[in-house]
Every structure is written in structure tokens, then in C-alpha cells.
Symmetry: C2
Subunit: 418 residues, 2 copies
Amino acid sequence: MSLVVMKFGGTSVGNVERIRNVAQRCARVRREGHDVVVIVSAMAGETNRLLARAHEFGEIPDPREMDALAATGEQVTAALTALALQQQGVAARSLLGHQVRILTDDAFTKARIRAIDDTRITEVTRQGAVCVVAGFQGVDDAGNITTLGRGGSDTSAVAIAAAIDADVCEIYTDVDGVYTTDPNVSPAARKIPRITYEEMLELASLGAKVLQIRSVEIAMKYGVPIHVRSSFSDAEGTIVTSEDKFSRADMEAMTIAGVAYDKNEAKLTLTGVEDMPGVVAKVFGALAEKHVSVDMIIQNVATGGAGLTDVTFTVTKADLARAKAVINDVGPKVGMKGLLVDDQVVKVSIVGLGMRSHAGIAAKMFQLLAAEGINIQAISTSEIKVSCLMAAKYTELAVRALHTGFGLDAATVKEESA
Amino acid sequence: MSLVVMKFGGTSVGNVERIRNVAQRCARVRREGHDVVVIVSAMAGETNRLLARAHEFGEIPDPREMDALAATGEQVTAALTALALQQQGVAARSLLGHQVRILTDDAFTKARIRAIDDTRITEVTRQGAVCVVAGFQGVDDAGNITTLGRGGSDTSAVAIAAAIDADVCEIYTDVDGVYTTDPNVSPAARKIPRITYEEMLELASLGAKVLQIRSVEIAMKYGVPIHVRSSFSDAEGTIVTSEDKFSRADMEAMTIAGVAYDKNEAKLTLTGVEDMPGVVAKVFGALAEKHVSVDMIIQNVATGGAGLTDVTFTVTKADLARAKAVINDVGPKVGMKGLLVDDQVVKVSIVGLGMRSHAGIAAKMFQLLAAEGINIQAISTSEIKVSCLMAAKYTELAVRALHTGFGLDAATVKEESA
């Protein structure tokens, strides 16, 4: 008998029929003798519907009232899910953020969890009932309702799993796991049976939008195993866990876990700036001051002679206009000759713990790309990731070449089971 | 400067445009320098929509979950109303039942208020903000969300007005006040400018469905003046207050306040039962055991001779089937010869404090009905009310005759102002 947290997203509880299916699945787990805590999101579309109403009263409505409003979405699903479980003959009880006491800071619409009281959840499960908790919401010190921001229900689920020391946190979604790459780009993509928190963090931040990144951080911090799986099938999904849960053989077999891509970047190049100490600091200091997040940074070798150099960096497309304004302001002060902007770029990354023990992974990546005639515009590396910036038109070609080249294609893998 | 509670029902906040109107009205009162506490219901239709969803999961869903579900309706309106006020440039803050702390018992779906903490509401108004409170909801000792039952927002409003010692509790609705009778029945009906709590209680319980009866009881207990008025006009409505707020001249002028009717009753007559002590007790004891509420009771003079009598009583139509079952069970034990059932009846009542000081009001009522050839089937009286049961077909005729006969018609009243 174990203690299982099961989290269902908006699509999984999108209508009465789906809530019934969710209840059936939870009831089955409960009948197998496990203690069950269910975390639910608002029904698909509900949060947007609520927020649209709020926006009728101003462009930037008071975030405190937005949260009181938005939190009703999960409250409705939690009550309906409890009722659906009861209809299956399973005792169930819903709890809201302030009832559990999911204590957060008071940063309305993007609050962070400070502490979770496990008393009431444990009380409900001890009575043999399934505890259904409204995700996404908490309460601040003053008793105001807060929400955790988009995708916050994943965070609720993992944080609750950590607080009650659950054996596993199952995240039910509309995909059946984490894939080696985007199946829309490479039909050879395959489901990853097991992956480490670190790899998942790199994949998530690179655009494989399966799990909210904060939830993975919390899971890693508290050692909560996550099982990402489909709410529409019984197939095993992807287990996200710590490295020490992998056998030596597992580790040896793995080189890279997946290939990710991110089209949401834009590249800026300042040409002919002075190649002197402090110049780069001035540029990036000015960007930071205006809250522009910079991703990749490359300082090229001076090309124009006379102690001049080019500086290239990338920002998200959303920050591009702000970044341009900053550079047009600060550029002349460092002798900038020109500013080149390119938003037709893609960042393709390979991620895997294996690259720590396998030499030459980065070199192999460059070779594979070169063999396709793809020009690399910028490179950045971390311990378990290599990212290359290139023209956006190469996205599919690059992803497929790397996926095949690193032996990730479904057909090329002999032993797939974990 | 005074402290005003303003309560808006579901129709008054039925859509975004109407919420905007409500906010405008509240903003105006606030700008006049008053402290304002607003109580809102769920948007019209919302509660039914939520409960219909719950009923997808069983005929008698768990009342605890029903309350958690239903309470979201008022939560949405409260947040939207606060946002609408802010858009008007008026500081505003919403509070839910558990945030105010409207403490109730744990009778889910029909909870009763035990205590209201005035701390947070007062804190908000002291900061110069309008406090918008979600009506209809409370919280029990264990922190569960409760609701007060249909029309409970009136009760929330009056109870909060009592707790914060408000100068007036304004109940905004889709009618512009309390009328001397149903305007649909008598076009001569006119708005009553002032009425006592006692009269309002009798009128409300008799079917003039303007104010929830419990809210009037609370207002009377704590001496909270209620102003029932239209949310769609600025006209004065009806002030419900205590007798001592009326001048001697007011009291002298009044004979009766209004004429009410109730078609929701059914009459049962047990014929030929034994005219012995204990027989009636047996019949009504059995009805009480099955939770059948009996309204009027008449024991006729024995007609069949030989110590036999008839017993007549009325119940609500909803209870009729249950009442028949009880009588068919207990009747034979008291020698009942037959059971006559008539659900084509109406109870017409006149209500007024004036009848305490004016003799012969009941006699005048019987004369007015007799003059129209209306046969009275049963009579019941209280200190400030006389009710007559008659065939339902006489409803309009009786109401109009009494309304005219007691000088209530608009044209016959010379000084209408309060």
C-alpha cells in the first residue's frame, strides 16, 4: 500500500464525462488499497473565461481580485470530482488552498508556496477518503486567496506530494509522457521511460512543455518521483526521478536523453564595438536594468582590426523590442558601428547526463549538423546540455539529424524498457 | 456620513453591464461620503447551472461538496464587483464568507449564521475602501464552506448590517418595493412606503416574495432598518423598520398594510372521526413524525351525530402526497369514515398592526367576501393577520374586494407619503 498523488490538468477534467473518467481511475487506485490525494485544475477554458470577464473592468485588473476570481475554477472541479468519486462509491472530500493551508507569499497571480500543512489532507486519507485538492491556489498570511500562475497545478501537486511524503506524484496530461523530441518534427521520436530531474529541467526550459519547470525543481529538491502519463490511457508514461535511482547499466547506456528546440529567440549583434574591459559589462548591465533576460552570449574575435569586436546575444522574442531600445541607447556609448537583428533563428539543444561521462558529445553534434550543411551561429554549453543557434529554416532538418545521429530513433534502439 | 449596507440580488448582477451599473450606484454613495459594504448574490442562473452539474453525479449529492461548489457563484460576483468599483476609481476589496468570518453551523445547504466577525470588514472600510462581501456563504467551525440556502444573501446582508451596526441595509431587487398586494392581481396595488417588521414577516410568509423571511427576523431582532428598492431606478422603495419608528399619526391612519394570497396550499378533511380527547393529537402527531408542516387546522362541529366530527387542515402542495399517506395510515385507527382532498384552494390574508387597535377588522373581511358571494372554507387569525381559505377561482375577486374595501387602492388614498 502506498500514498499516491494524482494530478489532472484542465483537458483531463474538461467536461462532466471526463471528470467521471478521472473519478473512475482514482477509484480504481483507491480500491487497490492505496491512499489517494487528487489535485485538479480548472476545467479547460474556464480560467480564460473568468479572466476575460475581469478584463471587462480594465486592462490591468487588481491582481488580488483576479486571484479570488480565478481560484473558483479549481474550486468547481474539486467539488465535482469529489461528487464523482462518491458516485463511484468511494468516500471523497474536497479541500481548497486555504483549507489545506497552502501558505504562499502575497505575489498575487504568481505566488510562490512557502509551506503546506499536511494535517487536514492526512486527516481525510486516514478516514479512508480520497482527498481532492484544488490546484493552482493558496492563501497568504493575511488570508487572501492567491494563485500560483499558469501551470501552477503541477507545482501544487508536487509540493503536496513532498509535504505528505507521497510515494509518487502522477501527473496526468493529454500526452503520454516525455518524448526524445517533438513528435511533430520527428516521427521517430519515442517516449522516454525514465529521465532525471536535471535532464527534465533542461528539456522543460527548452520548450518540451510537459511539466511546469517549478514543479520539477520542487520534486528534485524533495526527491519526489514524478510519473508523467496520459489521462486517456493506462500505458506507463515517463518517470522523472533522481540520478541515484538509475542503475549503472542505465547510465552507461544513455548518452543523451532528448533533442529540444526553441523558436522563441531572437539574435542581436552589435558590430564594431571597442574591445576593451568593461564594454560588455556596460551593455549587459543596461539590459539587466530594463529586465531583459539574455540567454546566449558570444563575443566574436575582432574582425575589423583596430581593437574592435562584435558582440552577439539572444533574447526571447517578447523582449526583442525592449532589447533594441536599450542597445540603441547604450550602443553609441561603446562605439557601436551597427546593430544586426535576426528573429528567424532557432536554438536546438541536446540534453543528457550521459555527456558528462562520454567525451566528444559536443563535437559529434557539430559534425552531425555540418554534414547537413547547417551553419552554426552561436553555441552555448552546460554540464548536461549543448545548444546551437541556427537559421529557423533548419529546425526540422537539425532535430531529425541529431535524433538519428545520437541513436534516439525508435527503430535504432534495441532495448527500450527501463 | 453613515454606514450603508447595499445588497444586490442575482438579477441586479446578471451580466457585466449590470455589474457596472451596480458599481456606479455604490460608487455614488461612497462619493457622497458614506462608508459602503456591498453584499452580492451569484449572477442570475449561475447557481442553477452549478447545481445542475453536481446533479450529473447523483440525485442527492453530498451537501458539503454542493456548498463548496455553489459558493463559487458569489465569489465570482464579489471579485467582479470589486474590479468594477476600482474601474470607477473607487477603492474596493472583496471578502468571502470565510475571510469575513461568517461563522455558521454545519447544516450544509441550509446553514444558520452563528456569529459574524466585524474586524476585517471594518478594517477595509476604515481604509476608505468599499468592502464587497460574497453573500449566501459562510464557514463552519471546522473551516468547511457552508451556504445559507436559497435567498440567503438577504440574510447575509442583514446579519452583516447588524454586526457592523449599519445605519441601513438596502436590499436592491427587481421590484421597487413592497406592495399592498400583488400588482398582477390588482392593478390598484400601491407601494407601501413604510412597514413594520411584524407586518413584513406576515406578508413574506404569505407569499409576497420580496424579502427572505429569516432576514426580516434578524433585522427585527437587531433593529436594522431595511430599505427594499429597485436596482434599476433611483426611486425610494419600502422601509421596513420597528413600530417605534412610526409616529402615532402613522399608526392611527393605518388599518391594514396589505392583502396577500397563497395558492400553494391543499386542504384535507377527515370525515366522521370520533369526537374524543386524544384523537386530534394522534392525527397531528403522526403528521409531525413524517415532517409534514400543517398550516390551518379547523375542527368542525360534529355533523353526523353520534359523537362524530370532521377535522380539516391544510398543508403545502409539496407535502400533500406525504400527508395523504399518513392519514390513510392513521385515519382508520381513529374511525375516519372518509378523506376529502382539495388542492384547488387559496389562502387570502389581510395583514396589519392596525387591527390590534381597530375592532371588527375580521368581521369586515368576512362581510366584504360575503358581499362577493365567496364561501369561506376555513379561517385562522393571529394578532396582526386574518386568513381565509376559499376556492382558488376566487383569488382575484377576493384580493381586489379586500384591497378596495380596506381603502388600499391607489386612488382612494389621499396622503401616500410616509
